[in-house]
Protein backbone atom coordinates (compact mmCIF):
# COMPACT_ATOMS: atom_id res chain seq x y z
CA UNK A 1 0.00 0.00 0.00
CA UNK A 2 1.32 3.41 -0.97
CA UNK A 3 0.81 6.42 1.28
CA UNK A 4 0.12 8.59 -1.75
CA UNK A 5 -2.74 6.29 -2.82
CA UNK A 6 -4.16 6.42 0.71
CA UNK A 7 -4.07 10.21 0.73
CA UNK A 8 -5.61 10.37 -2.75
CA UNK A 9 -8.43 8.06 -1.67
CA UNK A 10 -9.61 10.48 1.06
CA UNK A 11 -8.51 13.79 -0.46
CA UNK A 12 -12.07 14.90 -1.15
CA UNK A 13 -13.08 14.03 2.44
CA UNK A 14 -10.51 16.47 3.77
CA UNK A 15 -12.26 19.54 2.48
CA UNK A 16 -14.29 20.14 5.63
CA UNK A 17 -11.60 19.00 8.10
CA UNK A 18 -8.66 20.74 9.68
CA UNK A 19 -5.67 18.71 8.55
CA UNK A 20 -2.24 18.52 10.19
CA UNK A 21 0.69 16.51 8.86
CA UNK A 22 4.16 15.66 10.04
CA UNK A 23 7.24 16.52 8.00
CA UNK A 24 8.81 14.70 5.11
CA UNK A 25 7.00 12.44 2.68
CA UNK A 26 3.55 12.88 4.25
CA UNK A 27 3.68 16.66 3.91
CA UNK A 28 5.17 16.58 0.41
CA UNK A 29 2.68 14.02 -0.89
CA UNK A 30 -0.40 15.72 0.52
CA UNK A 31 0.87 19.02 -0.86
CA UNK A 32 1.41 17.38 -4.26
CA UNK A 33 -2.27 16.44 -4.42
CA UNK A 34 -3.17 20.11 -4.10
CA UNK A 35 -2.67 22.42 -1.17
CA UNK A 36 -5.69 23.83 0.62
CA UNK A 37 -5.85 26.54 3.30
CA UNK A 38 -7.11 23.98 5.84
CA UNK A 39 -3.84 21.98 5.60
CA UNK A 40 -1.00 22.63 8.03
CA UNK A 41 2.36 20.88 7.56
CA UNK A 42 4.48 20.68 10.70
CA UNK A 43 7.98 20.50 9.29
CA UNK A 44 10.36 19.24 12.00
CA UNK A 45 9.24 19.35 15.69
CA UNK A 46 8.79 15.60 15.39
CA UNK A 47 6.09 14.14 17.60
CA UNK A 48 4.10 17.34 18.08
CA UNK A 49 1.61 17.11 15.19
CA UNK A 50 -0.69 14.96 17.32
CA UNK A 51 -0.35 17.33 20.29
CA UNK A 52 -1.26 20.23 18.01
CA UNK A 53 -4.26 18.30 16.72
CA UNK A 54 -5.33 17.66 20.30
CA UNK A 55 -5.11 21.36 21.17
CA UNK A 56 -7.10 22.28 18.05
CA UNK A 57 -9.73 19.59 18.62
CA UNK A 58 -10.27 20.61 22.26
CA UNK A 59 -10.64 24.27 21.31
CA UNK A 60 -12.89 23.66 18.27
CA UNK A 61 -15.14 20.76 19.28
CA UNK A 62 -17.46 21.34 16.32
CA UNK A 63 -14.70 20.83 13.71
CA UNK A 64 -13.25 17.52 12.53
CA UNK A 65 -9.47 17.47 12.97
CA UNK A 66 -7.28 14.90 11.18
CA UNK A 67 -3.62 14.36 12.01
CA UNK A 68 -1.39 12.47 9.57
CA UNK A 69 1.37 11.15 11.80
CA UNK A 70 4.16 8.64 11.15
CA UNK A 71 5.78 5.79 13.05
CA UNK A 72 9.04 7.68 13.58
CA UNK A 73 7.29 10.79 14.89
CA UNK A 74 4.86 8.89 17.09
CA UNK A 75 7.66 6.81 18.63
CA UNK A 76 9.33 10.09 19.65
CA UNK A 77 6.25 11.14 21.62
CA UNK A 78 4.37 8.02 22.70
CA UNK A 79 3.06 9.96 25.69
CA UNK A 80 0.79 11.80 23.26
CA UNK A 81 -1.36 8.66 23.00
CA UNK A 82 -2.04 8.74 26.74
CA UNK A 83 -2.77 12.48 26.66
CA UNK A 84 -5.14 12.14 23.68
CA UNK A 85 -6.84 9.17 25.34
CA UNK A 86 -7.23 11.11 28.57
CA UNK A 87 -9.27 13.86 26.89
CA UNK A 88 -10.50 11.75 23.92
CA UNK A 89 -12.00 14.56 21.82
CA UNK A 90 -14.73 13.08 19.62
CA UNK A 91 -13.65 15.22 16.67
CA UNK A 92 -10.04 14.02 16.45
CA UNK A 93 -8.81 11.36 14.00
CA UNK A 94 -5.18 10.30 14.36
CA UNK A 95 -3.80 8.53 11.29
CA UNK A 96 -0.32 7.00 11.54
CA UNK A 97 1.45 6.06 8.31
CA UNK A 98 3.71 3.24 9.48
CA UNK A 99 6.44 2.47 6.93
CA UNK A 100 8.66 0.95 9.62
CA UNK A 101 11.43 3.39 8.82
CA UNK A 102 12.76 6.92 9.11
CA UNK A 103 12.39 7.38 5.38
CA UNK A 104 13.40 11.01 4.98
CA UNK A 105 16.80 10.49 6.59
CA UNK A 106 17.74 7.42 4.58
CA UNK A 107 15.29 4.71 5.57
CA UNK A 108 16.70 3.53 8.88
CA UNK A 109 14.35 0.96 10.39
CA UNK A 110 12.21 2.01 13.37
CA UNK A 111 11.09 -0.31 16.17
CA UNK A 112 7.86 -1.12 14.33
CA UNK A 113 10.07 -3.12 11.94
CA UNK A 114 11.09 -5.38 14.81
CA UNK A 115 7.66 -5.95 16.30
CA UNK A 116 6.50 -2.80 18.12
CA UNK A 117 2.75 -2.69 17.57
CA UNK A 118 1.42 0.88 17.49
CA UNK A 119 -2.21 -0.23 17.36
CA UNK A 120 -1.75 -2.25 20.55
CA UNK A 121 0.06 0.65 22.22
CA UNK A 122 -2.72 3.05 21.22
CA UNK A 123 -5.39 0.71 22.54
CA UNK A 124 -3.52 0.10 25.78
CA UNK A 125 -3.09 3.86 26.18
CA UNK A 126 -6.87 4.14 26.18
CA UNK A 127 -7.62 5.31 22.62
CA UNK A 128 -11.23 4.13 22.20
CA UNK A 129 -10.91 3.10 18.55
CA UNK A 130 -7.59 1.72 17.31
CA UNK A 131 -7.24 -0.22 14.07
CA UNK A 132 -4.57 -1.29 11.59
CA UNK A 133 -5.27 -1.20 7.85
CA UNK A 134 -3.29 -2.67 4.99
CA UNK A 135 -5.30 -1.80 1.85
CA UNK A 136 -6.39 1.49 0.33
CA UNK A 137 -10.02 0.41 0.46
CA UNK A 138 -9.84 -0.37 4.16
CA UNK A 139 -7.91 2.83 4.77
CA UNK A 140 -10.58 4.91 3.09
CA UNK A 141 -13.35 3.18 5.04
CA UNK A 142 -11.54 3.46 8.37
CA UNK A 143 -10.80 7.17 7.96
CA UNK A 144 -14.27 8.03 6.67
CA UNK A 145 -15.92 6.08 9.50
CA UNK A 146 -13.68 7.74 12.06
CA UNK A 147 -14.42 11.26 10.78
CA UNK A 148 -18.13 10.60 11.20
CA UNK A 149 -17.78 8.15 14.08
CA UNK A 150 -17.94 10.54 17.00
CA UNK A 151 -15.05 9.03 18.95
CA UNK A 152 -11.31 9.46 19.05
CA UNK A 153 -9.59 7.04 16.68
CA UNK A 154 -6.02 6.06 15.91
CA UNK A 155 -5.64 4.37 12.52
CA UNK A 156 -2.35 2.65 11.79
CA UNK A 157 -1.84 2.43 8.03
CA UNK A 158 0.92 0.03 7.02
CA UNK A 159 2.57 1.57 3.94
CA UNK A 160 5.62 0.94 1.82
CA UNK A 161 8.82 2.82 2.63
CA UNK A 162 8.80 4.87 -0.55
CA UNK A 163 8.21 8.55 -1.06
CA UNK A 164 8.78 11.52 -3.34
CA UNK A 165 12.23 12.49 -4.56
CA UNK A 166 12.22 15.73 -2.56
CA UNK A 167 10.47 17.19 0.45
CA UNK A 168 10.70 20.94 0.01
CA UNK A 169 7.59 22.61 -1.37
CA UNK A 170 7.06 26.17 -2.55
CA UNK A 171 4.96 26.93 0.54
CA UNK A 172 6.98 28.65 3.26
CA UNK A 173 6.45 27.65 6.88
CA UNK A 174 5.13 31.05 7.85
CA UNK A 175 2.85 31.45 4.84
CA UNK A 176 1.32 28.08 5.67
CA UNK A 177 0.94 28.94 9.34
CA UNK A 178 -0.72 32.33 8.82
CA UNK A 179 -2.97 31.04 6.06
CA UNK A 180 -4.08 28.12 8.26
CA UNK A 181 -4.96 30.34 11.21
CA UNK A 182 -6.70 32.87 8.96
CA UNK A 183 -8.73 30.04 7.45
CA UNK A 184 -9.86 28.86 10.91
CA UNK A 185 -10.78 32.44 11.81
CA UNK A 186 -12.92 32.66 8.69
CA UNK A 187 -14.76 29.47 9.73
CA UNK A 188 -15.52 30.94 13.13
CA UNK A 189 -16.59 34.27 11.69
CA UNK A 190 -17.68 33.71 8.09
CA UNK A 191 -18.37 37.39 7.57
CA UNK A 192 -15.31 38.74 9.36
CA UNK A 193 -13.46 39.53 6.16
CA UNK A 194 -16.43 41.31 4.76
CA UNK A 195 -17.08 43.27 7.93
CA UNK A 196 -13.47 44.44 8.07
CA UNK A 197 -13.79 45.64 4.52
CA UNK A 198 -17.09 47.35 5.27
CA UNK A 199 -15.57 49.19 8.20
CA UNK A 200 -12.57 50.34 6.22
CA UNK A 201 -14.81 51.61 3.46
CA UNK A 202 -16.72 53.75 5.96
CA UNK A 203 -13.67 55.81 6.83
Amino acid sequence: MLRLDCLRSIYSELEDCLVLTIMGAVAAELHSLGHRPNFFYLQHAMGLASSTGLGLALCLPERAVIVFDGDGSLLMNLGTLSTMARYRPQNLVHVVFDNESLLSVGGFPTATSTGTDLEAIARAAGIPRAVTVRSVGNFRTAVTDAVHGGELATIIAKVEATGPSGYITDLSLLENRFQFRRHIQSLREPNAQKRRWDRSSEK
Binding site: G47, L48, A49, S51, T52, G55, L58, G79, R177
Partner: protein, 170 residues
Protein backbone atom coordinates in the same frame (compact mmCIF):
# COMPACT_ATOMS: atom_id res chain seq x y z
CA UNK B 1 2.41 22.32 52.38
CA UNK B 2 4.13 25.72 52.37
CA UNK B 3 3.40 26.49 48.73
CA UNK B 4 1.79 29.95 48.80
CA UNK B 5 -1.94 29.61 48.21
CA UNK B 6 -2.46 33.38 48.28
CA UNK B 7 0.13 34.03 45.59
CA UNK B 8 -1.01 31.07 43.49
CA UNK B 9 -4.53 32.55 43.57
CA UNK B 10 -3.15 35.92 42.54
CA UNK B 11 -1.34 34.36 39.57
CA UNK B 12 -4.44 32.41 38.58
CA UNK B 13 -6.62 35.52 38.82
CA UNK B 14 -4.20 37.27 36.47
CA UNK B 15 -4.37 34.44 33.94
CA UNK B 16 -8.15 34.80 33.97
CA UNK B 17 -7.87 38.55 33.45
CA UNK B 18 -5.60 37.83 30.47
CA UNK B 19 -8.45 35.77 28.94
CA UNK B 20 -6.42 32.56 29.16
CA UNK B 21 -8.87 29.71 28.48
CA UNK B 22 -6.55 26.71 28.18
CA UNK B 23 -3.68 25.69 30.44
CA UNK B 24 -1.34 22.77 29.88
CA UNK B 25 0.50 21.48 32.90
CA UNK B 26 2.74 18.86 34.35
CA UNK B 27 2.64 18.70 38.14
CA UNK B 28 5.46 20.00 40.29
CA UNK B 29 5.36 20.99 43.95
CA UNK B 30 5.28 24.76 43.51
CA UNK B 31 2.48 24.51 40.94
CA UNK B 32 0.02 22.33 42.88
CA UNK B 33 -2.39 25.14 43.80
CA UNK B 34 -2.28 26.63 40.31
CA UNK B 35 -3.08 23.28 38.72
CA UNK B 36 -5.89 22.63 41.22
CA UNK B 37 -7.40 26.09 40.59
CA UNK B 38 -7.26 25.40 36.84
CA UNK B 39 -8.87 22.01 37.28
CA UNK B 40 -11.70 23.35 39.44
CA UNK B 41 -12.58 26.18 37.06
CA UNK B 42 -15.39 25.09 34.70
CA UNK B 43 -14.48 27.87 32.27
CA UNK B 44 -10.88 26.70 31.90
CA UNK B 45 -9.57 23.72 29.92
CA UNK B 46 -6.75 21.93 31.73
CA UNK B 47 -4.60 19.57 29.66
CA UNK B 48 -2.48 17.33 31.89
CA UNK B 49 0.58 16.28 29.93
CA UNK B 50 2.84 13.25 29.93
CA UNK B 51 5.81 15.44 28.99
CA UNK B 52 6.09 19.22 28.84
CA UNK B 53 7.05 19.41 25.16
CA UNK B 54 3.52 18.29 24.25
CA UNK B 55 2.39 21.64 25.65
CA UNK B 56 4.08 23.47 22.75
CA UNK B 57 1.82 21.61 20.32
CA UNK B 58 -1.26 22.05 22.51
CA UNK B 59 -0.67 25.81 22.75
CA UNK B 60 -0.02 26.04 19.00
CA UNK B 61 -3.32 24.26 18.33
CA UNK B 62 -5.08 26.64 20.71
CA UNK B 63 -3.49 29.62 18.97
CA UNK B 64 -4.66 28.38 15.57
CA UNK B 65 -8.14 28.07 17.08
CA UNK B 66 -7.99 31.64 18.40
CA UNK B 67 -7.79 30.58 22.05
CA UNK B 68 -5.27 32.12 24.44
CA UNK B 69 -3.33 29.57 26.47
CA UNK B 70 -0.60 29.27 29.08
CA UNK B 71 1.90 26.54 30.00
CA UNK B 72 2.68 25.60 33.60
CA UNK B 73 5.95 23.76 34.03
CA UNK B 74 9.10 23.40 36.06
CA UNK B 75 12.39 24.65 34.65
CA UNK B 76 13.36 21.05 33.94
CA UNK B 77 10.16 20.78 31.90
CA UNK B 78 11.22 23.86 29.97
CA UNK B 79 14.49 22.08 29.20
CA UNK B 80 12.54 19.04 28.02
CA UNK B 81 10.57 21.31 25.64
CA UNK B 82 13.43 23.03 23.87
CA UNK B 83 13.23 21.21 20.53
CA UNK B 84 9.52 22.00 20.32
CA UNK B 85 10.17 25.62 21.22
CA UNK B 86 12.85 26.01 18.54
CA UNK B 87 11.45 23.80 15.78
CA UNK B 88 7.83 24.80 16.22
CA UNK B 89 7.25 27.96 18.27
CA UNK B 90 10.23 29.87 16.89
CA UNK B 91 10.11 28.51 13.35
CA UNK B 92 6.38 29.12 12.97
CA UNK B 93 6.11 32.22 15.19
CA UNK B 94 3.77 30.75 17.78
CA UNK B 95 3.09 32.80 20.93
CA UNK B 96 3.71 30.86 24.15
CA UNK B 97 3.14 32.16 27.66
CA UNK B 98 5.35 29.92 29.77
CA UNK B 99 5.02 30.10 33.56
CA UNK B 100 8.09 28.25 34.80
CA UNK B 101 8.78 27.39 38.43
CA UNK B 102 12.43 28.21 38.93
CA UNK B 103 13.83 25.41 41.04
CA UNK B 104 17.46 24.90 41.97
CA UNK B 105 18.41 28.44 42.95
CA UNK B 106 19.23 30.10 46.31
CA UNK B 107 17.50 28.24 49.13
CA UNK B 108 17.05 24.98 47.19
CA UNK B 109 17.35 21.93 49.43
CA UNK B 110 16.81 19.21 46.77
CA UNK B 111 20.21 18.37 45.30
CA UNK B 112 18.63 17.04 42.09
CA UNK B 113 17.18 20.45 41.23
CA UNK B 114 20.38 22.43 41.51
CA UNK B 115 22.04 21.79 38.15
CA UNK B 116 18.88 22.85 36.34
CA UNK B 117 18.86 26.02 38.42
CA UNK B 118 22.32 26.89 37.15
CA UNK B 119 21.46 26.68 33.47
CA UNK B 120 17.88 27.96 33.21
CA UNK B 121 18.62 31.63 32.55
CA UNK B 122 21.64 30.94 30.30
CA UNK B 123 19.40 28.67 28.21
CA UNK B 124 16.64 31.27 27.98
CA UNK B 125 19.20 33.86 26.88
CA UNK B 126 20.78 31.47 24.35
CA UNK B 127 17.34 30.83 22.86
CA UNK B 128 16.55 34.54 22.74
CA UNK B 129 13.44 34.07 24.89
CA UNK B 130 12.39 37.22 26.77
CA UNK B 131 11.94 36.42 30.46
CA UNK B 132 11.31 38.00 33.83
CA UNK B 133 11.99 36.65 37.33
CA UNK B 134 8.77 37.10 39.27
CA UNK B 135 9.48 37.32 43.00
CA UNK B 136 7.34 40.21 44.28
CA UNK B 137 3.63 40.11 44.94
CA UNK B 138 3.08 43.72 43.86
CA UNK B 139 4.43 43.06 40.36
CA UNK B 140 2.58 39.78 39.65
CA UNK B 141 -0.41 41.19 37.78
CA UNK B 142 1.46 43.69 35.67
CA UNK B 143 4.35 41.38 34.74
CA UNK B 144 2.19 38.44 33.70
CA UNK B 145 -0.08 40.72 31.72
CA UNK B 146 2.90 42.32 30.03
CA UNK B 147 4.45 38.92 29.27
CA UNK B 148 1.27 37.82 27.55
CA UNK B 149 1.00 41.07 25.62
CA UNK B 150 4.55 40.62 24.33
CA UNK B 151 4.00 36.96 23.42
CA UNK B 152 0.89 37.87 21.40
CA UNK B 153 2.37 40.93 19.69
CA UNK B 154 5.75 39.37 18.87
CA UNK B 155 4.37 35.87 18.16
CA UNK B 156 7.07 34.16 20.17
CA UNK B 157 7.59 32.30 23.45
CA UNK B 158 7.91 34.48 26.55
CA UNK B 159 8.83 33.11 29.99
CA UNK B 160 7.81 34.21 33.47
CA UNK B 161 10.06 32.55 36.03
CA UNK B 162 8.18 31.92 39.27
CA UNK B 163 10.70 32.42 42.09
CA UNK B 164 10.95 30.86 45.54
CA UNK B 165 10.13 34.14 47.34
CA UNK B 166 6.79 34.22 45.53
CA UNK B 167 5.80 30.55 45.55
CA UNK B 168 7.12 29.23 48.84
CA UNK B 169 6.31 30.26 52.40
CA UNK B 170 9.14 29.18 54.72
Amino acid sequence: MPVSLTNSELIYETLKECDIRLVSALPETWLVHLIRLTDEDPDMTLVRLAKEEEGVGISAGAHFAGVKSAMLMQNHGFMASINGIVSFAHSYKIPLLMLISYRGTFGERDPWQTQGGNVTEPLLRALGIPYFCLDQVVTVKKRIRHAQTLAESSLQPVAVLLMRDLMWEE
